[in-house]
């Protein structure tokens, strides 16, 4: 069985249709890249998958491990194994990063009927993963993302992903706002999380992120749907020729 199946997904925001029939199948172990121009609906796809309010699904289905994802609340989707790495991670004043991580991990475990993590076990895991991402443990005592640099915020997203160990990770423009060094650290973190059981969707406007996270399959997204699918070489082609051809094609 495939991990994620999106069939003819249509969605609108304030009566304006954004997604116009998306079809996508992600199997365990695969990394898919979705590339497309600004405003093509890439981020909307990520938001609809994770259950953000304000979007109306007007048609189609989405299943994760055979379960109807669209019927679930965002927290239930997360507990089922979906993870969205935000393009703009939120700052949460007053909530320490540690508290946030622990609350999230235990909430998911509870929903899956697993016992809560003991404090030493939790601390051990956080320290290990933070170290791999060169995150200063002191930073984890600070409120979530408050005063973090762009790179620190994205690394914090990857840290959450590592700790929550999702079945399917959706990375929304993880490269935006990062310089090349920060990008490399984030990409290395993501690469460590590639596994035969896990699927990933990497959403990006630019090809440069895909130099570091090499996808198995590349999709071109335009005007609310996938207009072309190919191997990793498709990304290079896009880099050279831009999206202009696809935009005309999708409009036609």
């Amino acid at each position: 069985m495939s991990l994620l199946e999106i069939k003819n997904l249509q969605a609108s925001v304030a009566d304006r249709q954004i997604l116009r029939g998306v079809d996508l199948v992600v199997n365990p172990g695969e990394v898919h890249a979705i590339m497309g121009p600004n405003g093509s609906g890439k981020s909307t796809l990520a938001h609809v998958l994770s259950g953000k309010s304000g979007y109306e699904v007007t048609g189609g289905t989405v299943t994760l491990d055979g379960i109807d994802l669209l019927a679930l609340e965002p927290d239930e989707r997360a507990a089922r194994g979906l993870f969205l790495a935000f393009q703009y991670p939120m700052e949460i004043p007053g909530v320490a990063t540690m508290t946030f991580l622990r609350t999230a991990m235990n909430a998911q475990r509870k929903k899956r009927g697993e016992p809560e993590l003991s404090t030493p076990e939790f601390m051990k895991r956080v320290r290990e993963e933070a170290k791999k991402l060169s995150i200063d443990p002191e930073m984890l005592k600070r409120p979530v993302n408050v005063g973090f640099s762009g790179g620190e915020k994205k690394r914090n997203e990857v840290l959450q992903m590592a700790l929550l160990a999702p079945k399917l990770a959706v990375l929304d423009e993880t490269d935006s706002g990062l310089d090349i060094d920060a990008l490399k650290i984030a990409a290395e973190g993501v690469n460590r999380l590639r596994s035969p059981e896990r699927g990933m969707i990497v959403i990006t406007h630019y090809q440069r992120l895909l130099d570091h996270i090499i996808p198995d399959i590349v999709h071109v997204f335009s005007r609310g749907r996938i207009v072309r699918t190919g191997g990793k070489e498709l990304a290079l082609e896009l880099e050279e020729r831009g999206y202009a051809d696809y935009e005309q094609e999708a409009a036609a």
């Binding site: 994770s50 259950g51 953000k52 309010s53 609340e73 965002p74 927290d75 989707r77 997360a78 507990a79 993870f83 969205l84 935000f86 991670p89 939120m90 949460i92 004043p93 007053g94 909530v95 508290t99 946030f100 609350t103 999230a104 991990m105 909430a107 998911q108 929903k111 409120p143 959450q160 929550l164």
Partner: protein
């Protein structure tokens, strides 16, 4: 010229009757009698504060008080039993309990043994009866709250309360808990007055809590005066957990000398209608005062925080952060006035009030005021009112945290900013736990 004819309200007539009946029996002799008389005249001339009085615009006491309850009787046996159990919100915290039940300081129920050297705690009624010169000199004299009518009513009717004195240079580590409770069994009115006098270079933490039964529409008018000597360090926390039908009017005054550190937290979750007024005045340079508030309201609760910070002298710093969480049809009021007198140069004053509206029908009124008569100052204010941030909630939910838990976490952090200023860990944890209980009881 036409003289406005003011028809007295039922409550105003009842207060006048009560005054006639009780004035000769109140504690204190000649100079105080005159002060009480003058205070009552102030009330008689102005009537109960109402919406036509700018300072009381959002809390119309005249309309809120449909009647004035008779003065409370001293607690009987059952009352004493209840008084012993009062203040449980801070159970487990190492505090020195001083219990004032139905307006009477109960020595046998209070923890007055083994006072630290330099600390004295007594009853106001005793001090007034004995004509204690220091108490008589300080009580309401040149008070920053002088002009307020609710405070004047307190001066007229005050019967008992605590008098706490800390000698110069003495640092009291164990917080003092003033436990105010109304025990019933029938609705009544309570007027308590307390005085905290802290000598130069001394330090003390005073926590006051107020409570009473949910089913009775009792009325509390309480006042606490703080006088701080040079270099004193004072932490004050007021915990408002009055019964659901109670009317509670509270006045806190603080007259600060030089280089004083004064921290105040006003925590309000109880009462039907609550007015917390604070009048703080910097009489010496170099002082820092922080006045913070955390208010959580539901149903039709009304809570008003009215602050006046008077920078009579320059070179002082004032900080105010008030947080309100409002559910149902509740209403919070924040009025913050910062006065900078003509010579109070180098004043640094900042004030912020924020309200989180959890329902469509809740209301938050903010009225910041700056009256600045000096030209070399830094003063500012900010106010916000809004719903929970949906994007923040989504972020938490996207990590697997259920909706209610996500909201609880966000509200807790919102209120936490104010509560975190409390230096005593036990008190801080008790308040955090009270917030958690309030949040868990949400629908």
């Amino acid at each position: 010229m036409t003289q406005a004819t003011v028809t007295k309200s039922e409550a105003e007539r009842q207060i006048a009757d009560a005054w006639t009946g009780v004035k000769d029996r109140l504690p204190g002799a000649a100079p105080l009698t005159a002060r009480r008389e003058a205070a009552f005249k102030k009330f008689e001339a102005a009537g109960l504060p109402n919406r036509r009085v700018e300072e009381w615009k959002y809390t119309d006491l005249r309309a809120l008080m449909r009647d004035a309850k008779p003065l409370a009787q001293p607690p009987g046996e059952i009352g004493r039993v209840r008084a012993r159990a009062a203040g449980a919100i801070l159970s487990g915290v190492d505090l020195r309990r001083v219990v004032v039940a139905d307006g009477v300081l109960l020595k046998d129920v209070s923890d007055l043994g083994g006072l630290e050297p330099g600390l004295t705690i007594g009853s106001l009624a005793d001090a007034l009866t004995q004509g204690d010169a220091e108490v008589m000199g300080r009580l309401g004299a040149q008070s920053p709250a002088e002009k307020d009518v609710a405070f004047a009513l307190n001066t007229a009717f005050m019967g008992d309360g605590a008098v706490i004195r800390v000698a110069p240079g003495v640092k009291i580590a164990r917080p003092i808990h003033l436990v105010f409770c109304f025990t019933g069994p029938v609705p009544a009115a309570v007027f308590t007055r307390s005085l905290v006098s802290v000598g130069a270079g001394a330090a003390v933490t005073v926590v006051e809590s107020h409570e009473g039964p949910d089913g009775l529409d009792y009325q509390v008018n309480t006042a606490l005066e703080i006088v701080a000597g040079d270099g004193a360090e004072i932490d004050h926390v007021k915990i408002g957990t009055e019964g659901a039908a109670a009317l509670h009017v509270s006045t806190l005054t603080a007259a600060l000398g030089r280089n004083v550190q004064f921290r105040d937290l006003n925590f309000t979750i109880g009462g039907a209608a609550v007015r917390n007024q604070i009048f703080a005045r910097c009489d010496g340079a170099g002082s820092t005062l922080s006045l913070d508030g955390a208010t959580l309201l539901k149903g039709r609760q009304h809570a008003d925080a009215t602050l006046v910070v008077d920078h009579a002298i320059g070179g002082c710093k004032s900080r105010e952060i008030y947080k309100g969480v409002l559910e149902g049809e509740s209403r919070s009021v924040f009025q913050g006035k910062t006065i900078v007198r003509p010579d109070a140069q180098k004043t640094d004053g900042k004030m912020a009030s924020h309200a989180l509206l959890l329902s469509e029908t809740a209301e938050a009124d903010h009225k910041p005021e700056l009256e600045i008569f000096a030209d070399d100052v830094v003063c500012g204010h900010g106010a916000t009112a809004g719903a929970l941030d949906e994007d923040l909630r989504f972020y938490l939910m996207a990590r697997g945290i259920p909706k209610k838990q996500a909201e609880t976490l966000l509200i807790q952090s919102f209120v936490g900013e104010a509560i975190d200023v409390v230096a005593n860990e036990g008190v801080r944890d008790a308040l955090t736990a009270a917030v958690m209980r309030w949040l868990e009881a949400r629908e």
